[in-house]
Each structure stands twice: as C-alpha cells, then as structure tokens.
C-alpha cells in the first residue's frame, strides 16, 4: 500500500475529475498543452509503485477506440491537427482514469458516493454489482466451457444459439441467487 493507495477516495476522485475537466475545456488548437500533465501522472504512477508495463498494456487496450473516435474529426477544415490534438487529450484522460481505477477500490468509491448524497438505490445496486460480478463472470465462463465440451460440431448457428441460451440460463440462475440473497438479508434483520 503506497501513499497514493491510502489517500482518500474523495480526494483522488476530485483531483482526477479536475484534471479531466481542465483537459476537456482546452480549445481544439491548444490541445497539445494537455501533454504538460504527463510528468505529473508519471510521478503519481511511480509513487503508487505501479508497473509501467501493466499500465502501458492497459492503456494500449483503450487506445484503438480513441484513435477510431478521433479520426472522425479528421474530416473537417484543419481536421488533421484537431484529430491529433483530440487523441493526445483523450489519451492523457484515459491514463488519469486508469491511475484512479488502479489505486481505488469500488468499496471506497461506493462509500464516497454515499457521502455525496447519491440516492440509496443506486449505491446499493453498485455495491451488489461489485460483489457479485466476479461470481457471475466465473459462472458464465464455466457454463460456456461446459457447453463447448459437449458441442462437438461447430457452426455459426450453433455458436449463437449456445451463447444465447447460456446467457438465458445465467439470468434464471441470477434471479434464483437474488432470491437467496434477499432471504439471507431478511434473516439477518436487514432490508
């Protein structure tokens, strides 16, 4: 746990939001100024003892989307500069967001949102989502593995059908799980 990990989630959220809003407010022809934030971000990454390789790999996953979206700006007068500036700006924003995501847990975030008076149903949904998403992901993976183990013939029609019916079954299991969770919560005096 580094000092960046220990800092309060509200502070981190506020600082990164301020940086991102500042970058978004840069006019198109000054977008290159956004690169000034890069040393600051790298310093934070160093303080948080994050590996640069992991950071770069995660960034490279998101970069193609940025490239695709900013290439749309190419088709206007003086478009090439605008598109490049846009890409630089959004790449810095993506890096900021990744630093925030890798130093803040979702539980801290939910607590911060509750303190910011976000309505209770949304906070509850977020907390439950964080708790159960890895569980359901694993379940989906198991179901698909079981299906591919049993399906010997492979065709596009079968692939789609297996995908859809597996997801349908996953929803039915989800509802059953929700009923169990609800009765467990009731049994302990909650809700």
């Amino acid at each position: 746990m580094s000092c960046i990990h220990r800092a309060s989630a509200g502070l981190k959220l506020g600082v990164s939001l301020a940086l991102i809003v500042g970058l978004a407010a840069l006019p198109a022809e000054r977008a290159w100024w956004g690169l000034c934030a890069l040393p600051l971000l790298l310093l934070v990454a160093m303080l948080a003892r994050l590996s640069f390789r992991t950071l770069l790999r995660r960034w490279a996953l998101g970069a193609p989307f940025l490239l695709g979206a900013s290439s749309l700006a190419w088709f206007q007068p003086h478009g090439s500069g605008v598109a490049l500036g846009l890409f630089a700006k959004s790449a810095i924003c993506l890096l900021t967001l990744q630093l925030l995501a890798s130093t803040t847990t979702i539980a801290e975030l939910t607590r911060t949102l509750r303190r910011l008076r976000v309505p209770a149903p949304l906070c509850e949904t977020l907390a439950l989502l964080a708790r159960y998403s890895s569980l359901l992901n694993d379940e989906a993976r198991r179901m698909r593995r079981a299906r591919s183990g049993r399906t010997f013939r492979s065709s596009r029609l079968l692939y789609w059908h297996a995908l859809g019916s597996a997801l349908g079954l996953l929803f039915i299991r989800t509802v059953a799980r929700a009923e169990r969770v609800q009765s467990a919560m009731r049994a302990r005096g909650g809700a």
Binding site: L17, L72, A73, A101, I106, L122, L128, L163, G168
Partner: protein, 324 residues
Amino acid sequence: MHIPDGFLSARVALGYAGLSSLGLGAACYRLRAQRDRGASALLGVSAAFVFAAQMVNFPVAAGTSGHLMGSALAGALLGLPGALLVMTAVIIMQCFVFADGGVFALGANVFNMGLVGCVVGFCCYRLLCGAAPSPTRRVASVAFAGWCATLAGALSCAGQLSLSGTARLSVVLPAMLGVHALIGVGEAVISSLIVASVLRFRPELLETSAQTPLTARPRRSAIYAGLGLSLAIAALLAPIADAAPDGFSRVTQALGLHSTTSAPSLAPFSHGIPGVASGVLATLLAGCVGTLLLFGLCWLLALALVPRPRSSEPSRGVAVEPSG
C-alpha cells in the same frame, strides 16, 4: 458507444449529466415509492448479470465483434426504473474499474446507453407486446426493441459528438448509424435468445414486469405498431439530418472554432435516390424500408425460436437442459 474523456465540450458534458441525473432521480423516486424492498437484491444481482453478459463478445462481420448493450433486455425483464438503475450502475462500474468511457463523459454515456436505450427499448417492447402477448410476439418485440435501442443510443451519441464540435454531423452520423445498425442486429438476436430461454424455463419472470391492464388486442395490432414505429423512426431521422448543420454551425461560432468559413454540408444526404426529388425524402424512404425489413426479420426470428405448441418433434431452437 462509450465516449471517452476529451471528446465532449464542457457545456455538452454538463448538460447531459444534468439530464441523466434528472432521469436517474425519477427512477430512484419511483423505486422508493413502490416500497418493494424485495427488489433491491434482484436489481443488484441483475446488474452483475448485465455486466457479465456484456463481457461476452459476438462476431458481427468480417472479424469485428460487438457486445450486448442490454438496455432493452433489462427493460423487458425488470421494468423501466429498474432497468435504468441497473444500466447506470453498470456504466459507472465500467468507467471506474475498466476505464471504459470517461468520468467527465459519464453523464452523456448514461444518457445514451441508460436513459435513451432503456426508454426507447422499453417503450418499443411494451408498444409491440400489448397485453397478454403470445411467446412469439414477446420474443419478436424484444428483438426489435433491442435494435431500436441500439440505434437510438448511437443517434444520441452522434448528436453529442457533433454538438461538442468534435466531428461534423455529416461524418459522425452515417458512421455511427451504419456500424450500430449491424451491432443492433447482434443485440436483437442475443436478446431474443435470452428471452426465449427465460420463457421456456421460468415464464412467470416476464409476467411480473408491471403489465398495465390494457384490453386484449388481436395479434394484428403488433404489425400496425411495428409499422407506426418504423415510420416514426424514419421520420425522426430525416429532419435531424436536414436541420442539424444549422445548430452545428451556431455551436461552432459560439465556441469560437474557425470552421464556419465553409458551411458544413450533408453530402451523403443531399444526393438522394435518383427519381426522388428531395434528399430528405430519399433518406426517409431508405430508413423506412430498412426498418420495416428488420421488423420482418425480427418476426421470422421469433417464429424460428419459439416452438409450435403442437409439434411432435422437439425443435433444436431451445433444446438445452437447465443444468447448464
């Protein structure tokens, strides 16, 4: 369709954040007014389900792949306020955990995929379904609603990008709509497959989603509703294609961008089908025909997926054992 940070101007981002927090507040108020505490766990775990379902990629065409958006599906399964809450939670989670979609653009993303997707998806579904629908009609409605929701989300996303002065509407609108018309087909197929298997194993789950007591209408009304919806979609698209450059150039002037010297023209829309006088009319016609074609395909898909009640041979369409 997740807009990253840096693509929206501050004005657009804040405006859409305000709009989507209004919608979210209304949904929370509605859920609290229902006092249905039993639903809180269902919403949370369903959000995890949508999240897991979005992880699964399906091939679209020629090596590209798309994934489920799920707002129409959530609308059909959970009702409108619940679906809105679930989609918002999923989008927030994607933003903060996977850096998919920006923090500053969160309001706009929730607006596109949550508010617009759920409202359009749910309204299409309910309009096509009517009261006491047959399984075939339900599956066809979900499929068409999924396609409409995807397209509506893409439309609103293109509007935001062009309002921010990021790209011209004439470029971004055909690009977004073209790609998402294909992704929407995938969405329609997956949603209808999911609903078909829910209908097979636990049909009561679909009955509970707040059916308003309408008089039972004949099956033909679904066709009329589909026709009306297609016309509405096409009619909505055409004026946007026509009127938007004005708004765009006004915004660029207001922001001090220097692209106003050459007025943006809608090249793909101004040269219409030969024989049809106006470009707007041609767009309207093309959109109408495409949407109708898709509606027919959705109905055929539903006919293929839902087994006939009296057929002796078990169809392979839904032959899957519940043990998974």
